[in-house]
Amino acid sequence: MLIEALIALCLLGAAVVFVAPNRFAHKLAVGFSLPPLAISLYMYLAFDGSGNALLGGDIAYETFAQWLQLGSYTVNYHMGLDGISLPLVVLSTILTTLAILSAWTPIDERQSQFYGLMLFLEASLIGVFGALDFLLWFVFWEAVLIPMYFLIGVWGGPRRKYAAIKFFVYTNIASLVMFIGYFALVFGLGDSVSSTGLPEIAQALRAGQLGSLGIIGPDMLALAAFVAMFLGFAVKVPVVPFHTWLPDAHVEAPTPASVMLAGVLLKMGTYALLRFNFTMLPGQAEILAIPIAVIAVISIIYGAMLALAQSDLKRIVAYSSVSSMGYVILGLIAYTVYGVGGATFQMVAHGLISGLLFMTVGVIYNTTHTRMVGDMAGMAEKMPVTAGVFVAGAFAYMGLPLMAGFAAELFIFLGAFESTVLPYAPLFTAVAMFGIVIVAGYLLWAMQRSLFGPFRLETDYEIGPAALHDVVPLVTLVLLIILLGSAPMVFFESIQDATLDIVATLGGGI
């Protein structure tokens, strides 16, 4: 019942904050985000699940009740966590609290609605990671779009309306494609399944019970469903060439929404890829290994090069997410313990690091009212803590040892290099590694120009150190990144436990 408590507390908070006066909505929102944070941390410490929730592992915090009966299918209310979803739930609660804190400065109108939507977003995200029945999961998956649409559309930058509707339409069409793909599988399984539950479908598919659907044979059906679901999730991740909504959404979104978007919403895509495509249809993943790896590597390199070409700090961070998500895909397609585990690790690590960088850019923008690298120089002089945090975040991104990014990328490269599923794995890994060099290039260059050297900024605004409530989230994130990077195995083991069964079918290897 703890997951339900989390969701209920967030929804309650959302409702109360939504109707509260603007004056103290910000403090109320932080207050309401703390109990879910505390509960999720407790859940992390008291976690007693093992194995993969979809493949017969012990599910932690499970709730099961019948919801609907549809002909021969039951639709259940089925919630539960395993080593893959639990870290993402914790990530959501941590980032929501910090994002709400980071909103105190920039959000200066309609505060109660803003914070209400943030808490509603948190509830939906927890639902996405907790749901183990497709229809239930889909309800939360779509519900996430609604607060994000408003967060971008109401509080965003000058082109916010365009960005919001583009985000909404893109991801909604993607959901439709994915929905069709999944139900093709359910209907293809016919009488061998009696519910739309993810565990039952996953196990039936892996047991090879997929039949024909009309004139489409089982192999073709599985492949088509794999492609449909992959396309649906690829928009969310996003991978090249479906990434074009991302820079628009990020640049226009207010900082706290960007933090949630990059930190958690992108992970919904990779989480779903792992849960659906790579867990349910490993055979099809193997068939399509080379195209997927090519997409991953292109995302890594092309995303990094796009970042290199930007002069807007927020765009740089936004495009670098495309690059980082490419690593996750590469890790997944490797089908090794380190590959898949590293991909999950990277989801969390990137959530923290990109959240940190977006917040830092936000803090700089709040003070200077510009994000253009060329407009400012020597910011370190005026804003020492913020600059220090920016440097730390950038190094984490580049994969400095003892920081989360290093551990994540190391696991992915180790796993991808050893892959037996992906042909020419060493070649793909080597090319992907080159992406790190570009990352280092654009981040160092951007930092050098904006943070160091003699101070220069033509502005009427007073430039000074950031407020305490801006600095607290930044420092918290830096500490978490270092914690995760210096003791990765503590965290990796719970993930690894849940990924072993996924890789086992295809021979795996470490």
Binding site: F18, V19, W67, L68, Q69, L70, G71, S72, Y73, Y77, R110, Q113, L135, F138, V139, E142, A143, L145, I146, Y149, F150, G153, V154, R160, K161, A164, I165, F168, V169, N172, I173, L176, F179, I180, F183, F187, G214
Partner: protein, 494 residues
């Protein structure tokens, strides 16, 4: 004892009649009553009683096997109870909301009376088991509707809409009556089960007469449900009518058309027997695709919110037509027909709510286009949250029951082997998000062209809107209260 329980089964319709008679009495003693609260309260209470009794009878399973009354002229079964529940809920919401909407208008008692009489006609339509009763009940529901559309009799749009509605309605009634006479000629009976028994023979002996009769009956129902090709009255009528009446017509009246269509086609014209004359399943498949697509594309090009809702209501008629179009005899047919009922049930709340929000906007004189709604979210956040729920639920996003009922229709059509109907629904539904979200965007994101001040917040209208929104959201998890009842009712009918 037997008689008592039979009368109890007609209690929902009775509640409508009794409250209508009560209004007659009140109006005789106190013409041009100033007690408009009393009138609205009687209407709402009567409808609420009808709703509660229907739900109680339905969920207690009293009428699971179907009870015939008056020598088989009427039948009360699961399906009729599902629909009287819909009529009761819509009428209650509309009655409540009208208290504020018509507060400055004359002839209030007549207004409520007409609504209740139309609702009575609709609940008889839900139980009609003979073509004669079908026709009489349909007229009982239609005639008050014409008058209601013309209620704003000094308003040119209202009168013009009513005239158009009446002329098309009269034409389609005559088509229906002629179709019924042809069916009687071919089968020798008006009772639906007897028609079914004679259908096989009639189809062989009088192929043409019987087939044309069925098609004409189909045309009559297409009018009532605002489906292609008899849909063109709907945008004018819904736009010109007072907004609560639009809500009533597009939700309850449409559902009434569907319940008759469900019963007549499923019971009287078993597809195996009549396939020799006319394949009505195929006809409904064509109509469903045309109605969905035309309604949605026309809705997407509107600038006027009420007109957009009118076209969207045509689109939703198309979705429900799938319930008849997927009766191919394959898969779980109870699921198919039951999903149509559930969609109408959810639609009864979300569409009524949406039109009532338009009523609220008309009450405030904010104007009729999307632009006029700009920035309303700041001034009326609660009502706008409710409207957001209606819009997203109509579009099929999982914030309300609209998502599940559409999903049921898709599952049903795929199971029945007509997956392409489900695909057309899914695509149309995805497209519909475009025009529904325009309302949301206007309310919350766009800035108003000129500052406006909202002074009065009408309580009853607000209560009706919020209640509709709460039920719409609650029907997402809570559809489990009704789903098995609806599927069982459908299965019993088949």
């Amino acid at each position: 004892m037997e008689h008592v329980s039979n009368w109890l089964l007609l209690a929902p319709a009775g509640a409508f009649v009794v409250s209508a008679m009560l209004l007659f009495v009140i109006d005789s003693f106190d013409p041009e009553s100033k007690h408009d609260t009393l009138l609205a309260a009687v209407t709402t209470a009567g409808a609420a009683v009808a709703m509660v009794i229907s739900a109680a009878l339905l969920l207690s399973g009293t009428a699971d096997s179907g009870v015939e009354l008056f020598g088989g002229q009427l039948v009360v079964d699961g399906m009729s109870l599902v629909f009287t529940f819909i009529f009761g809920s819509v009428t209650a919401l509309v009655g409540l909301a009208s208290a504020d909407y018509i507060e400055d208008l004359p002839h209030k008692a007549e207004y409520y009376l007409l609504i209740l009489l139309a609702a009575t006609g609709m609940s008889l339509m839900a139980s009609a088991n003979s073509l004669a009763v079908v026709f009489v009940a349909l007229e009982l529901a239609s005639l008050p509707s014409y008058a209601l559309v013309a209620y704003l009799k000094t308003n040119r749009g209202s009168v013009e809409a009513a005239l158009k509605y009446f002329l098309v309605g009269a034409l389609s009634s005559s088509i229906l009556a002629y179709g019924i006479s042809l069916i009687y000629a071919a089968t020798g009976s008006l009772l639906l089960p007897d028609v079914a028994a004679a259908a096989g023979e009639a189809s062989e002996l009088y192929t043409g007469v019987f087939g044309i009769g069925i098609l004409m009956v189909l045309g009559g129902f297409a009018f009532k449900t605002a489906s292609v090709p008899f849909h063109f009255w709907a945008p004018e009528a819904y736009e010109g009518a007072p907004a609560p009446v639009s809500a009533f017509l597009s939700s309850a009246s449409k559902a009434a058309g569907f319940v008759v269509a469900f019963r007549v086609f499923v019971v009287a014209f078993p597809i195996d027997s009549v396939a020799g004359s006319v394949d009505w399943v195929l006809a409904f498949q064509v109509l469903a695709v045309l109605t969905m697509t035309l309604g949605n594309f026309a809705a997407a090009t509107q600038e006027n919110v009420k007109r957009m809702l009118a076209y969207s209501s045509i689109g939703h008629a198309g979705y429900v037509l799938i319930a008849l179009a997927a009766l191919t005899g394959l898969g779980d047919q109870g699921l198919v027909l039951g999903s149509g009922m559930l969609h109408l049930l959810v639609y009864g709340f979300m569409n009524t709510g949406a039109f009532l929000f338009v009523a609220l906007a008309e009450y405030w004189n904010v104007g009729r286009t999307f632009r006029d709604y700009n920035g309303l979210g700041k001034e009326a956040p609660v009502a706008c949250v409710a409207m957001t729920v209606f819009m997203f639920s109509l579009a099929g996003l999982p914030v309300g029951g609209g998502f599940l009922s559409k999903y049921f229709l898709i599952v049903g059509s795929v199971g029945a082997g007509v997956w392409w109907l489900g695909a057309v629904l899914a695509v149309n539904s995805a497209l519909s998000l475009f025009y529904y979200s325009r309302v949301v965007k206007a309310m919350w994101i766009d800035e108003p062209d000129e500052p406006r001040e909202i002074e009065r917040y009408p309580t009853a209208l607000y209560v009706a809107i919020v209640a509709a929104a709460v039920v719409t959201v609650a029907l997402l998890p809570g559809i489990l209260v009704f789903d098995s009842a609806a599927f069982d009712a459908a299965a019993a009918l088949l």
